[in-house]
């Protein structure tokens, strides 16, 4: 009876409230629409940020430049044959005529002209005689939308300059070594340095990372040590990368100097005697990506169905046989995908390598694990930090190289994942 009364009471209350309720509906829907617009706008802001980022990079990597030559190449032409098409002997003669005797002898001493290629001599003439110098550069957007203004400005301010559309990213940029002159600077040293350090990092982190993942997933029982290891790995993944740089500096570069400089192996190069080598950098990156590889591999191993293990044990296989012949092959695509993602993280890392002591200016290709090194992101950092604007252009070009490298890595990871997940599914 009381219950019935209660319900009647409630219902009448509801009726009362619904009279306030209905007129509110419009307002509530309006609020809903307003917020929806805000949510959409936020998403659009994210996309605008990405677009702005990409446009900024393209903006720097391409655009008009005004180039002034100290000597007009047309004046060096012989009998109407332009400089570019002259045979090597003629080029050597032009070089000899236009540079001082001392310099010519030094060049001859560095490498005899009889052994130099025609392209090399042509490059020397461009570098020593023609000396092209960029007096002004414009961004891609300016080059597209204000072309006439640029032409007018160039004609007025730099009457001797040649205005041309420059793609800072070209084959020469990728193939040339580092140089102090932005026109001739290239990214080859940095690209090779990146590849070397990554190779060392993978060689170190992949076996150990997968090993640790196997241990944690297949062997580790429930005890304190194993729990500590697991928690520790999760926390290491969140340690800022620069801390790994400091660790690398203290342990790899300083404490293990004999090892990382190669002195232990009888490798004595006075320039690398301080341990700031490819090996130190690679191991630092290896430590950095180790937790990522472990966590990703654990996920992949966890996903292998238990029936597979039981079938293997049922046939009398040992634990290791089960792991090696059954679990690992099934988990491999996942492990590889995770590893590739970890590598793409390592390729872009700059801060730890700066701390470990990358050489900021080397023109010699890294020749092995005990060589001095620089990497692509470090080169980008150096070029960006320079006050002269021209270096920003080559920084942008180097960024495109880096992004293409990353994109291809990620594409590989996606293809791997799709291919194998379809195969197993």
């Amino acid at each position: 009876m009381t219950l019935g009364q209660g319900i009647t009471h409630q219902v009448s209350n509801e009726e009362q409230r619904s009279s306030d309720f209905v007129p509110n509906l419009d307002r509530r829907h309006r609020t809903g629409r307003t917020w929806l617009i805000l949510f959409q706008a936020s998403t659009i802001v994210g996309i605008i940020a990405l677009t702005a980022l990409l446009v900024t990079i393209a903006n720097g990597a391409f655009g008009y430049v005004a180039v002034e030559n100290r000597v007009d190449p047309a004046s060096l032409a012989v009998d109407g044959v332009p400089l570019r098409d002259l045979p090597k002997e003629e080029l050597v003669r032009i070089l000899q005529e236009n540079v001082s005797n001392g310099l010519f002898r030094r060049l001859e001493h560095d490498q005899p002209f009889s052994e130099r290629s025609r392209e090399n001599v042509y490059e020397l003439i461009m570098e020593r005689v023609v000396e092209p110098r960029i007096v002004q550069q414009w961004t891609l957007l300016e080059s597209i939308f204000q072309r006439t203004e640029i032409e007018a400005e160039a004609a007025q301010e730099y009457p001797n300059a040649e205005l041309r559309f420059e793609s800072w990213l070209d084959r020469r940029f990728i193939a040339s070594p580092q140089s102090g002159d932005p026109v001739r600077a290239g990214a080859r040293t940095a690209i090779l340095g990146s590849l070397w350090t990554i190779a060392v990092a993978i060689a170190f982190a992949f076996p150990i990372g997968v090993g640790a993942a196997i241990y944690l997933e297949e062997y580790a029982g429930e005890n304190l040590i194993n729990r500590v290891i697991q928690v520790n790995i999760n926390n290491l993944a969140g340690v800022p990368s620069i801390i790994y740089g400091i660790l690398g500096l203290a342990i790899l570069v300083r404490a293990l100097e004999q090892l990382t400089s190669g002195a232990v192996f009888g490798y004595t190069d006075p320039t690398t005697a301080n341990g700031r080598t490819v090996l130190s950098a690679g191991l630092t990156l290896g430590l950095l990506i180790l937790p990522l590889i472990i966590i990703n591999s654990q996920e992949a191993i966890k996903a292998v169905s238990n029936s597979l293990r039981q079938a293997s044990f049922g046939l009398g296989a040992t634990k290791w046989q089960t792991v090696w012949y059954h679990v690992l092959p099934s988990a491999l695509p996942g492990i590889l995908t995770g590893t590739i993602l970890a590598i793409s993280r390592a390729i872009g890392e700059t801060a730890p390598l700066v701390v470990v002591g990358a050489s900021t200016f080397i023109t010699v290709d890294p020749s092995g694990p005990f060589a001095k090194f620089t990497t692509l992101p470090i080169q980008i950092y150096q070029w960006t930090a320079r006050p002269q604007d021209v270096f920003r252009n080559i920084a942008a070009a180097a960024i495109i190289v880096l992004l293409v490298l990353l994109l291809s890595l990620n594409a590989t990871a996606v293809v791997l994942r799709n291919r194998f997940s379809r195969g197993l599914g």
Partner: protein, 395 residues
């Protein structure tokens, strides 16, 4: 006969035990070695952590115990022989106290008594030899970086021996706060949009596109900040108010960097809320917004909070953006349009040059690193705790 049977029985028993022997679990040396190796792989991570803590701790200790010599502007008034322990020094200059360590040329002494300008010392301490000193020589006093100075002062200038961490911490807070102010509301909005409003098709396009942002190396963001964001801010607020290097620009760019992380983690948390909760809300007459904001978001709050904390940890540890965009030179300022150097930025700058291993600068790097390590570790542990403690389980 009986003996015969016993013999048969015995031989049978032997056979059985032989078969058992064959079936018994054998200790395989190879298996044990492999397991041992795999354990070592796992244990290496512990070694890494211990290595970090040990190295950071050891060098930080050096930082706080390393003796430095400060000029007192006091000089010897008289010549002193190696055996003399009481002598006069000039009046002006810094205050000396009993127990202070002083240095004249290379000899170190400890002051035991002071009477006006006459001081009594213990000669040749810290392994130095007492020697003859001529009048007019400078007296240097020993100083150390104290923990108190480190944690309470706001001037960081290694050249003149000022090591107040707050100059760097303040800049780190400025950039991280700007980043979080930008990324948290925006990231949560995007996450709500993707999880509650967007169609499957839109989500399948938008999510990977936004995640591209997370995969771009931070040095590229530094370039972006310097060539796009800073000029933009200068165009909006005026060239005079906004310096070329400033923390606001670094913060916003860093916000763009952590945006996809906030979005992705929050979206995962929102998607994990079961559909039945939303349906219940709709059945009660809630609008879509009310369902999202008053039902789904509170239900996913632990995951969203964890995302925020991880984002903060990432922002504090972020290096290259601030190294390029925020400026090179420690400064204690609350103006986001002025240059200031963060903890990470400072580490990168001083370690980038030719750093001598045996210097206070080198040690200071580790003290800053230790601080950074504990702050980020604390935040990460906190986020894991939040997820564990406040997670709402729906089955």
């Amino acid at each position: 006969m009986i003996g015969n049977t016993t013999a048969v029985l015995e031989s049978t028993a032997q056979e059985v035990s032989g078969q058992r022997e064959a079936l018994r679990k054998r200790h395989r040396v190879r298996e044990v070695i492999i397991q041992g190796f795999l354990f070592l792989c796992g244990a290496l991570s512990i070694m890494v952590t211990l290595g970090i803590v040990y190295e950071l701790g050891k060098e930080s200790m050096l930082f706080f115990t390393r003796q430095q010599w400060e000029i007192t502007n006091r000089t010897l008034v008289q010549d002193i022989e190696p055996g003399r322990i009481t002598f006069e020094v000039s009046e002006s200059g810094a205050q000396l106290e009993e127990g202070d360590i002083i240095r004249i040329r290379s000899e170190v002494m400890r002051i035991t008594e002071i009477h006006g300008d006459r001081i009594t010392v213990e000669r040749g301490v810290q392994g130095t030899e007492p020697a003859r000193h001529a009048a007019g020589l400078d007296i240097q006093a020993s100083t150390r970086v104290t923990l108190r100075e480190f944690f309470t002062k706001a001037e960081w200038n290694p050249q003149i021996g000022k090591f107040g961490i707050w100059a760097l911490v303040n800049a780190t807070l400025m950039t991280s706060m700007s980043a979080l102010l930008f990324a948290l509301p925006l990231g949560l909005s995007v996450a709500i949009y993707l999880s509650e409003y967007a169609s499957d098709r839109a989500r399948s396009i938008l999510k990977p596109v936004l995640e591209i942002l997370a995969g771009i190396p931070t040095v590229v963001y530094g370039y972006f900040g310097l060539t796009f964001m800073t000029p933009l801010l200068r165009a909006i607020f005026g060239v005079d108010t906004v310096e070329i290097y400033n923390t606001a620009s670094a913060g916003i760019v860093m916000g763009i960097l952590i945006l996809p992380m906030v979005t992705s983690m929050s979206e995962d948390a929102l998607s994990a809320v079961p559909l039945s909760l939303r349906q219940a809300a709709y059945a009660l007459g809630a609008t879509r917004l009310e369902t999202a904001v008053k039902v789904v978001v509170p239900a996913a709050l632990s995951g969203i909070t964890a995302a925020f904390i991880v984002a903060a940890s990432r922002a504090i540890g972020e290096t290259m953006i601030v190294a390029i965009v925020a400026g090179a030179g420690p400064a204690f300022t609350f103006n986001p349009f002025k240059a200031a150097e963060t903890m990470t930025g400072h580490i990168v700058r001083i370690s980038g040059g030719d750093l001598s291993y045996d210097s206070l600068d080198y040690n200071s790097l580790f003290a800053i690193g230790l601080m950074l390590f504990f702050v980020t570790l604390g935040l990460n542990v906190l986020s894991q705790y939040v997820v564990r403690r406040f997670r709402e389980e729906y089955e």
